[in-house]
């Protein structure tokens, strides 16, 4: 077990696609390797997680909890799970692991030239890519964490998040998840992007699966509000071929997610008045995002769901990349049902019969 690395930097040559980084982080490493702008950082690998669980004597119980999770949490399992969470939070970290994490956090401080550099600590689950299920929002992410002690604390919280109610029951609805009882989790540590605006984009139209569009949702500040859904985002639809802005719906925003100096944590704070009714990204930025999305999609050879942020300097960063899971798994039905000559198509059209079937309705895949 100790042969496997506890820490893998995103820019390490073995990072791209490495299962030890979980789905999210191994994908981000791929993005970095492909030349996209990804905030610097490292993953505390699934090997590190297993090492901790093993040293703490929790592996067997964890496996039985994960196996039982899919049968939905009974009161008994709930109490066992909360007991598990408490123990993950309190058992001592193996000293080799703690030393490694402290050393590499210091290295990150050095690389970005900032003492106590604020980071995002993100859970990156092993199952994210394996099952075709997004696990979106099931594992926790902690923003604006700084100082090695706090980072260590939040790594434990990422590990513990595997045993939260939501994560356990989500496993229940994902086929095959229950059979993977040895599953681990990676905690990704990345420099925090001080976002001026952020959000998500899909490299297809999520309403109808149209692959000729990039759909962007954006808000002022950190993208947490868009991801969580408690901030109504502005919408942009961009033509993926011509990069025309086809739809632009600006939604006024009163508060933003940002680092609150009063509480020393990320929270919803009032948004500057001059921003409230204005677009958080310009058309040009929206088009550049669409170009970025198209490029990522080409690298990944599949439609993507991408989290992004634009920092105070106006640089765009890729925060998360995962395959789009709804439309990509449906077979796209054809438009024409009968083979006809083009002249016959036109003749029929002028007789009142359209070439193509009506477009598919949005809604349930």
């Amino acid at each position: 077990m100790t042969d496997l690395p506890f820490i893998i930097w995103l820019d390490h040559e073995f990072a791209p696609g490495n299962p030890l980084l979980g789905g999210k982080f191994s994908n981000l490493a791929k993005m970095l390797a492909a030349g996209f702008s990804v905030p610097p950082g490292f993953g505390v690998s699934t090997a590190a997680y297993h090492h901790f669980m093993d040293q703490a004597g929790l592996e067997a119980e964890a496996a039985s909890l994960l196996a039982a999770g899919h049968s939905m949490a009974s009161a008994d399992i709930k109490s066992k799970a909360s007991d598990m969470v408490a123990r993950i939070m309190s058992q001592p970290l193996p000293s080799d692991l703690e030393t490694a994490i402290r050393r590499d956090y210091a290295l990150l401080e050095e690389r970005v030239g900032q003492k106590d550099v604020p980071v995002a600590v993100r859970s990156s689950g092993e199952l994210e890519d394996l099952t075709g299920a997004s696990f979106a929002g099931q594992y926790d992410t902690y923003l604006w964490i700084f100082g090695a002690d706090s980072v260590l604390h939040h790594i434990r919280m990422c590990w513990a998040s595997m045993f939260g109610d939501a994560a356990l029951s989500y496993r229940g609805v994902v086929e095959d998840a229950g059979s993977r009882q040895d599953v681990g989790i990676c905690a990704g540590i990345q420099q925090m992007v001080e976002a001026r605006a952020a959000g998500v984009m899909f490299t297809l139209d999520p309403l109808n699966g149209d692959p000729s569009k990039v759909a962007i949702e954006a808000c002022w500040g950190l993208g947490e509000g868009v991801v969580k859904g408690d901030i109504a985002p502005s919408h942009f639809t961009i033509d993926k071929v011509t990069f025309e802005v086809i739809k632009r719906q600006i939604v006024s925003q009163l508060k933003e997610y940002a680092f609150d100096t009063k509480t020393g944590a990320v929270g919803l704070i009032p948004l500057a008045a001059e921003c409230q009714d204005n677009a958080c990204i310009s058309d040009k930025e929206a088009v550049n995002l669409a170009k970025l999305g198209k490029h990522i999609e080409q690298c990944q050879s599949a439609s993507q769901d991408i989290e992004w942020a634009i920092d105070q300097q106006g640089d765009t960063k890729v925060l998360q990349v995962r395959p789009e899971t709804v439309w990509s798994q449906r077979e796209r039905s054809g438009l024409v049902s009968d083979v006809k000559s083009p002249v016959d198509h036109v003749l029929l059209r002028l007789s009142g019969v359209r070439v193509a079937k009506p477009p598919s309705e949005g809604g349930q895949p």
């Binding site: 139209d205 109808n208 149209d210 692959p211 000729s212 569009k213 639809t237 033509d239 993926k240 071929v241 011509t242 025309e244 802005v245 086809i246 739809k247 632009r248 058309d283 796209r332 039905s333 054809g334 438009l335 024409v336 083979v339 006809k340 000559s341 083009p342 002249v343 198509h345 036109v346 003749l347 059209r349 002028l350 007789s351 009142g352 359209r354 070439v355 193509a356 079937k357 009506p358 477009p359």
Partner: protein
């Protein structure tokens, strides 16, 4: 076919919607503007709303055709609209016949033209019509290229015969050769038959105009709908980009101007072109300049036929033609010379346009779901590209070349009336309907033949004066975009393609109060891009010379031949027009942000207002009103 059965099979193409209680104004309730009382006398009886058919007239959906006739019609100019009333309609109703469409009806209301498409909804009739249609239209599509080259020959022949028609005042004594040749017919008969031939020639070209147009639009419409179903939200400029020839005859006049600018540089006479704003002065100076003779040769060669280019749609006699008013091409030429002197390239980037078109087409094609869809896409795109040269080029042959020459012949005839003391000014003729001209001409013959004063010498002047006042009053009125009963569905292909009338347009119009001082107008996005600038309202081509750099052109409709000012303006906005309107094609070629079919831009925006045009969203926003 018996008349009765025709009426039974004809239903409005657009049926009244019962769910909506919104309605357009009743056409019978439209008020006559002050000073325009009695306007009806300018037009023939069959062009007016009739109380005898009130129920039918009210039940129809009438929309204003500002695409072709943004101004109230001159009585003579109705020959153009009357022509397509029959010529375009008969193709759909009787010639092909198009299964779902009959013709497009017309009425004049306060002198403005309103049109209403008739459709066929009875499935049995549609099936019967389809049998004819499939054979006939199939024949045209299968043999398109040959038929189009025959068409071009017919068009040129028709123009050639038009050019040979001559009008001259009647002689005091009949020339001797007409006696000794034993013709037995004389100048009087020649004048009358020349007039008849002139009218017939116009109606003949008018018939050619529509020989292939419905089918061309039909192919494009089919391809467009296919793209819209595959890629909801795909814009019209993008679809047109895949189809458009990057070169068409409508661009030739401007290309000639570019070539002449380049030649002026090479022959070192550019300064002569730049020095004189008045065409006559420039041409006189050129004749004496070194190298000027050679340039003038090139200039004369380029004029035929490329300066037979109307500054309007070609449907009204008031639109100056380049060849008669050289200010517009020379203004453009000065722009090009200035660009050349700054070392810029003025050639259109054909290769990169082609490359871009191919890239866009290839990428969309790859995004289609199945191979079968790609096959349909390829086939429809191929057919549409095949018909498109006709769709674009007919415009030069018909509206520019032929019609420009037609108006010039009509003025030759007007000079005969002036010479015989019927009018003081040749332009007065246009206040008479063509049937009234026939009467006036016969009147003139009687005066000449008998030696009495023709009644026309004392009859027409007061009528012309009254009609001019009426028309001036009508011109100040703003026609509402639609009247009558709102439709729930629109099926007629030309209505959709040419006028941009869709169910959404109708909804939009229903939601807009024309008298409201709205700060945002919506229209059809015709060419992408965004621009902000000061508005310049252009109501006729004379206003074009007022345009300042970077202004935003606001007009009833953009005429293709206004292209020379496009290099100075930031964007173009029109009240009327669809994606296939002659102007939209050119706007796209010039990459000018453009919104067409806004309905009310010239009524709601004033010269000097600060406006923002979004050619992607199809919106025009007034940011700041001009002071006062």
């Amino acid at each position: 076919m018996a008349k009765k059965s025709l009426d039974e099979m004809t239903n409005p193409a657009v049926k009244g919607s019962s769910s909506s209680n919104k309605s357009f104004p009743n056409p019978f309730n439209v008020k006559t503007p002050v000073g325009a009382e009695g306007w009806e006398e300018l037009y023939p009886y069959y062009y007016l709303l009739s109380p005898e058919r009130r129920e039918m007239e009210e039940g129809k959906f009438w929309f204003f055709d500002g695409v072709h006739n943004p101004e109230p019609l001159y009585p003579f100019d109705t020959i153009m609209t009357e022509n397509w009333w029959v010529a375009a309609s008969q193709m759909a109703s009787r010639v092909w016949p198009i299964p779902v469409a009959m013709g497009i009806d017309q009425r004049l209301i306060n002198g403005y033209i309103y049109v209403s498409p008739n459709g066929v909804t009875d499935p049995e009739q549609i099936a019967k019509r389809q049998e004819h249609f499939t054979r006939r239209a199939g024949h045209y599509f299968e043999n398109w290229d040959e038929i189009y080259s025959e068409w071009a020959e017919k068009a040129k022949d028709c123009i050639g015969r038009l050019d040979k028609i001559k009008f001259q005042p009647l002689p005091d004594i009949e020339p001797e050769e007409n006696v000794f040749s034993h013709r037995g017919i004389y100048s009087s008969h020649d004048l009358l038959s020349s007039y008849n031939r002139l009218i017939e020639n116009m109606l003949e070209m008018g018939s050619y105009h529509f020989e292939m147009l419905n089918l061309g639009y039909g192919a494009y419409l089919t391809f467009r709908e296919f793209c819209q179903q595959a890629f909801p939200g795909i814009t019209d400029p993008t679809i047109t980009q895949m189809v458009c020839g990057i070169d068409n005859l409508l661009l030739r006049p401007d290309d000639e101007v570019r070539r002449l600018a380049t030649a002026a540089m090479e022959l070192k006479v550019a300064d002569v072109v730049l020095k004189y704003e008045q065409p006559d002065e420039m041409l006189a100076a050129m004749a004496t300049a070194k190298g000027g003779g050679l340039w003038l040769e090139k200039f004369e060669a380029a004029k035929e036929p490329w300066f037979r280019f109307s500054t309007g749609v070609g449907y009204t006699h008031t639109d100056p033609v380049w060849i008669d008013d050289l200010r517009l091409p020379l203004m453009a030429m000065r722009n090009y010379i200035e660009l050349l002197q700054r070392g810029e390239d003025i050639s259109r980037p054909l290769a990169s346009l082609l490359k871009k078109r191919d890239k866009v087409t290839k990428e969309y094609r790859a995004l289609l779901p199945t191979d079968q869809d790609r096959e349909a896409f390829d086939g429809l795109l191929g057919l549409t590209c095949k018909v498109f040269p006709y769709v674009e080029d007919h415009n030069f042959f018909v509206e520019h070349w032929h019609h420009s020459n037609f108006w010039s012949k009509v003025r030759e005839l007007a000079d005969v009336f002036v010479a015989h003391n019927f009018f003081d000014d040749r332009e007065d003729l246009f206040f008479l309907h063509r049937h009234e001209i026939y009467d006036a001409l016969y009147d003139l013959l009687t005066g000449w033949a008998t030696g009495s004063q023709a009644r026309g010498e004392v009859y027409w002047r007061p009528i012309v004066q009254r009609r001019r006042g009426v028309r001036d009053a009508l011109a100040k009125w703003t026609p509402p975009p639609a009247l009558g009963t709102p439709p729930s569905v629109i099926t007629e292909p030309i209505t959709i393609m040419l006028w941009g009338i869709t169910e959404e347009t109708v909804e939009e119009w229903l939601g807009v109060n024309p008298s409201a001082d709205g700060d945002i107008l919506r229209g059809v996005p015709a060419a992408s891009g965004k621009a902000t600038g000061l508005a310049r309202i252009v109501k006729d081509s004379e206003d074009l010379y007022q345009i300042q750099d970077s202004e935003i052109l606001i007009c009833r409709i953009v005429a293709p031949s206004w292209a020379p000012v496009f290099s100075r303006i930031a964007a173009a906005v029109s009240d009327v027009g669809g994606i296939m309107a002659h102007s939209a094609i050119i706007s796209r070629e010039y990459g000018l942000p453009s919104v067409v079919g806004t309905g009310f831009a010239t009524a709601n925006i004033q010269t000097g207002d600060l406006v923002e045009v979004d050619g992607d969203a199809g919106t025009v926003r007034v940011l700041e009103r001009a002071p006062g």
